[in-house]
Structure formats: C-alpha cells, structure tokens
C-alpha cells in the first residue's frame, strides 16, 4: 500500500472542489492550483494550500505539465488527481506524474493511450468481442478511399477525428457530394486541435440513445461495472441532462451491456474509475462508442443511486486497496432514481456561451438535492474556461419523483448577471417526450418552442423598487452559505456595467 498525505488537484471549478471535499473527509492534505487570472476561483480557498500556475493562457497554466509538477514539488504534494478535462486523459501527464515519484490518481498511461486513439480503441474492442458502431478500420486521408468506404457503409455517415472526442472535429454527411469538404474540414480541425489529422468514417445511427456504464477496477484486476447512466439529452453532441437508471434497458440488456463494459475495461488493463459509452440503436442493439478514462462529469448520479463515493474509491485504488466486496460480489444495486442537470452560462436559444459577473447566486437545497457548483456570487464567468456553472442532481424514490424534485430545484435556483440554460433544462424536464422515458439524442431539437412569457407584476414592482432609487437596490440576500464562503460580498450597483 502506498500512502497519500497531500493531494494536488490539477483542475479548477466544480470538479476541483468535488475532489477536494472527499480528500478532506479522508484526512488527506490538499493543494489547489490556479492561473493568476483565476485566483478568485472557488476551488482556491477550499484547499489547505494554493499554488499559482502563473499568468497566461490555459495552455500555459492548467495544461502545462511542467508547471503542475512544479506546483506539486513546491507544495509537498505526493499525489495528483486530474479531475476531468485539461490533462485528465493525457498519457504523457500520467507518465510524468509517476516518473516524479507521485501517486497518479487515474488509469495507467497505457490504458489512456489504448482508449484515446478512437481507431485503436475500436479495433481492441472488436478483438475483445465488444460490438462497435459499423465504420472504418483505419484512418485514411485519400478522398477516393474514403468515398468507397462511405458507399460501403451507406449514407448518412459521420466523419470523425481519430484522436478526437467530445464531438470535436465530427460532422454528419448525408450525400456523396458533401463528403470531400467534410473530410477536409475534419482533418483541419483534427490537426489543429489534436495534432493528428487522421479521420475515419462511422455509420450514422438514426435516433440512437446514448447509454454509458461506469466501470471500476483495482490494481489486482478486480473489474466491475456500477450500472448505467442515460445521456441522450444532448445539444450539439454535448450532454445537458443525465439520469440513472435508463428507461431503455431491460434487465437482460443491462446485464449484457454491463458485461461488455467490463470486458472493454479488462481488454486495456484498466485501473480506477472509467466510463464505457455505448450507442443503443432503435432495434435495441448496443455498439461501443468510446471510453472516457477519467471521472465523468455526470458521476454524481451513480453516487446518488448507489450511495457510494467514487472519488474515495479512486483514491483507495490509487493507494493499492482492493474494491469493496459488496462491489465485486454483486451486492450493489441502485435505489431510486437520479437526474443531473448541467447548468451552463449560455444563451438559452442559440446555446452560445455567455460571459459576465455573477451578481446573485442561490443554490437549491433540501431533500434529495445535491449541487456541485463552480461559481458563487461575485464570480467572473470567463470564455476562457468551460461554461459549466453547476451540476444540480435530484434523487427521488422513483423516476416521476426525481423529475418533480429536479423541477423544484430549478425553481429554487437563483442566478443573476449571467444568462443560463435554465429555461432549456426546465423545458426538457417538462416535455412529454422526456417524461415518457422514450426519448433519443434528438430530443432537444424536437422540444416545442416556448413562448417567452412577459414579466409578472411582482417582477415589475421589484425592478421599480430597485431602479427608482428610493429603496436600496436589492443587495444580495444573506442566504445561508457554508463557512467557506464567508468572504467579502460583492455589492450590486458598484460594478462598472
């Protein structure tokens, strides 16, 4: 067993806070890192020590391996957790951390590489007997080869970057005439974003559901799945609402997919927490899509229904502990239903990111509600970083109760100063299609266009009170917050508009 005395979290915002909380509960010392422009970030005051990564762009700070390692040295950290995003799926970083003699809280570099190259991952999965989406076996650059491949698969197809992920460098092609332009575009994006311009083709599955399985493995090779997360509510290929269990899975299908997920993890010698993503077609067949070799954004819904702490077990496994016998002997079963809503700073209609100052921030609370947030009142929301403001998780005894609880939580949420996708989240939860459980990845495009309602009388009166100058202009309410946030309050009206 290795010991972890002080953990550095190489991330920012909500996921940094999430990991720091568990480290504190385990009695592990903590180190936060921050870019100078992000010195007021909410993760900075949550650790015992805060190490600056200096000024500069994301590439020069949160993505800089030398600076993160230097921060670990200067703060005396003996382990590094990467969170998600940034360096979390960077095999070079994993190797550099271990070469430094530090504990890497993540999968082995080899597993990251095996899954990171989408083409190699497809090949490995096929060898392991895991079904994959029909598509090409090798990356190609020659337009004639790609055209033949597309004919073989049948349109519509998807052009994907071999090194890609998260929808980047991916485009849909419906007819042969559009293939060449799409391939050139994808190659250019892939080259600039990933430094590798290989692309490949995949058959586009119409109206699929996106269902992923949480997997976990210890260093002795015990490998389990921790059930599914339904992630079909997406816009622009990005998830906005996730839930578990999925209404699409029968017990038999759940069992088969869970086994395939475990096979996928074993095939690459996986250790720690990971996620195997599948597409489910309209005939109920599942296909391996990709693996995420890190803690997933939506991991809290698994924690909510299983009553476990995934970050704790990431740390335990990194120390060399075995997975709990409840997990390995199949005694773990989900209870109730959980829904996560991703609150983004963005225009609710065109989905473009929004920047600004958070003037007022009140989080929902109460029975069955968990909020993992990356901002507080006074925070600057910058275009520099991911526009995710918070994850709101509602757990209920059953699916209808969880949906009502999620809507109640959205009603309690107060965000002023930055536009959010709250109206879209509420529209999803209220839609007949979502409530029926029979939805697919095109749900958002089919939502009825909601009329924006005019301000109600109370809003006019409150605005008149604030703007007439007669009354104090509604300072942020003294909401009950935990002692971490007892810093200086930003006062409205003082900002240079």
């Amino acid at each position: 067993m290795r010991t972890i005395r002080r953990l550095l979290v190489a991330n920012r915002g909500e996921i940094s806070v999430r990991v720091l909380r568990t480290a504190r509960e385990l009695g592990i010392g903590t180190v936060a890192v921050f870019a100078e422009s992000d010195a007021g970030g909410i993760h900075v005051e949550r650790a015992d020590r805060a190490a600056s990564l200096g000024a500069g762009s994301v590439a020069e700070t949160y993505l800089s391996i030398p600076k993160i390692l230097e921060a670990a040295r200067s703060s005396g950290a003996d382990a590094i957790h990467p969170g998600y995003g940034f360096l979390a799926e960077n095999a070079d970083f994993a190797r550099a951390v271990e070469a430094e003699g530090l504990v890497w809280v993540g999968p082995p570099a080899g597993a990251i590489e095996a899954m990171g190259d989408k083409l190699r991952a497809r090949a490995r999965m096929r060898e392991a007997g895991v079904p994959v989406v029909p598509g090409s076996d090798a990356g190609a650059k020659d337009p004639a080869d790609l055209a033949r491949e597309a004919e073989r698969l049948g349109y519509p197809i998807l052009v994907k970057a071999s090194a890609g992920g998260g929808g980047k460098g991916m485009s849909r092609v419906d007819r042969p005439a559009d293939l060449r332009a799409a391939v050139e575009e994808a190659m250019r994006i892939a080259a600039s974003a990933f430094g590798d311009d290989s692309v490949y083709l995949e058959k586009l599955l119409e109206r699929p559901r996106h269902v992923e399985f949480q997997v976990f493995a210890d260093q002795r090779g015990n490998t389990v799945h921790l059930f599914e997360r339904e992630c079909s509510v997406q816009r622009r290929h990005q998830k906005i609402v996730e839930e578990t269990p999925s209404s699409a899975l029968s017990p038999a299908l759940r069992g088969a997919m869970g086994e395939a997920a475990v096979e996928a993890a074993r095939a690459v010698g996986y250790i720690g927490a990971g996620t195997i993503e599948f597409l489910l077609d309209t005939d109920g067949r599942f296909h391996f899509l990709e693996a995420n070799t890190r803690l997933q954004v939506e991991h809290p819904i698994t924690e909510a229904t299983l009553g476990i702490d995934l970050v704790r077990w990431q740390l335990e496994v990194a120390r060399g502990a075995d997975l709990p016998s409840d997990w390995t002997e199949g005694r773990l079963s989900p209870r109730g239903h959980a829904i996560e809503m991703r609150l983004y700073a963005e225009d609710p209609v065109d989905f473009l990111p929004r920047a600004g100052t958070v003037l007022e921030w009140i989080e929902p609370a109460g029975p069955g509600v968990r909020v993992d947030s990356g901002v507080a009142a006074g925070s600057e929301v910058s275009l520099e970083y991911d526009p995710l403001l918070a994850k709101i998780v509602a757990r209920g005894e059953d699916r209808p109760a969880a949906v009502e609880r999620a809507l109640r939580a959205l009603d309690e949420l107060v965000v002023l100063g930055v536009e959010t996708n709250r109206p879209l989240l509420a529209a999803v939860l209220r839609s007949e299609e979502f409530r029926s459980g029979a939805y697919d990845t095109d749900l958002v495009s089919r939502l009825p266009r909601e009329e924006t309602s005019p301000a109600p009388p109370a809003a006019w009166i409150a605005a008149a009170l604030a703007l007439s100058g007669k009354a104090p202009s509604g300072a942020p309410a003294a909401s009950a917050r935990d002692p971490w946030e007892s810093g200086d309050r930003w006062r409205p009206g003082e900002s240079a508009g």
């Binding site: 065109d350 003037l359 007022e360 309690e412 107060v414 002023l416 009166i461 703007l467 942020p476 309410a477």
Partner: protein, 159 residues
Amino acid sequence: MKGIRLESRGEGREVLLENGNALLDGTAHSFREIRRGGSLVALELDGTVVPVRVARQGDRAFVWCAGDVFEVRRPAGRTARARPAGGEPHAGLVAPMPGRIRKTLVQTGEEVAKGQVVVVLEAMKMEHAIRAPQDGVITKLRHREGDLVDAGTVLAEIS
C-alpha cells in the same frame, strides 16, 4: 410619487408605487416588501408571497421571480450597446458570437475579395469562417490569434 417607465422583453410598463400600492399601467395591486438584512427577498402581492431577488447594474435590474429571470431597463438611460460613431454599421468584420481567434488569414494592407475568409473564430468547439463583406483593403486588424472576443467585436476594418 412619480411613476417610472420600464421595459422588459420588448414590453413596457408605467409603474407607480405608493403606500403599499402599485399601479401597473393603471391596474392596482397591493403589495408588501419582505426584506432580510435590508435586501428584498419576497413581495407579498395581493395576499400571495412571491420570492424575488434583484440585482441592479446602472440603469438595468436583473430580477429573479418564480424561477424565471427578467432584465428590466429604464428606457431613458444610455443603455443601448455602444455603436461606432454615427451609428452606422461598421465597414468591417464583426464576431457573430463570443469565441477565440483561431487564425488570421490576411495582413494589414492586403487586398481581399468579398466572401474571402479573413479570420477563423473558434466558438463552442466549432470553427467559424468570418468572411469579408465587400471587396477592399484591410486597413486594420484589431486582434491577434489566440485573443478572446465578445459577440459584436470588430475584428478587422476594410476600406
């Protein structure tokens, strides 16, 4: 007390507040302010408690009410978005959305044809080609590759 004129979501209201009564475009409501630590947290409006939060920024107020957020302005204020002098549309290239300048494909002094890609903007993980709106010469490039820009930012000028 004099009424004030307010606008929100394309609608206007004349609001007059007096002694716990509000006149909204002539319709009367009774209300009571519920405050905590001096801050408005709810209104009791015609006997019903409605939670509200307000943050003021100059001539506009952000109001949260019943889960929804409204931006309310005093129309008299100079609150319109800053426009180039004269209010004429700028003879230049404007970022249609917030993002990062991924690539600048021209140099100052270079001739460009209408429709030619001048700047590649990255936003929402996608690249967007920003094209010259007319034939002309690039007289000014305002930003460098890697810069973050807001929607409406002039990226280059063309004469």
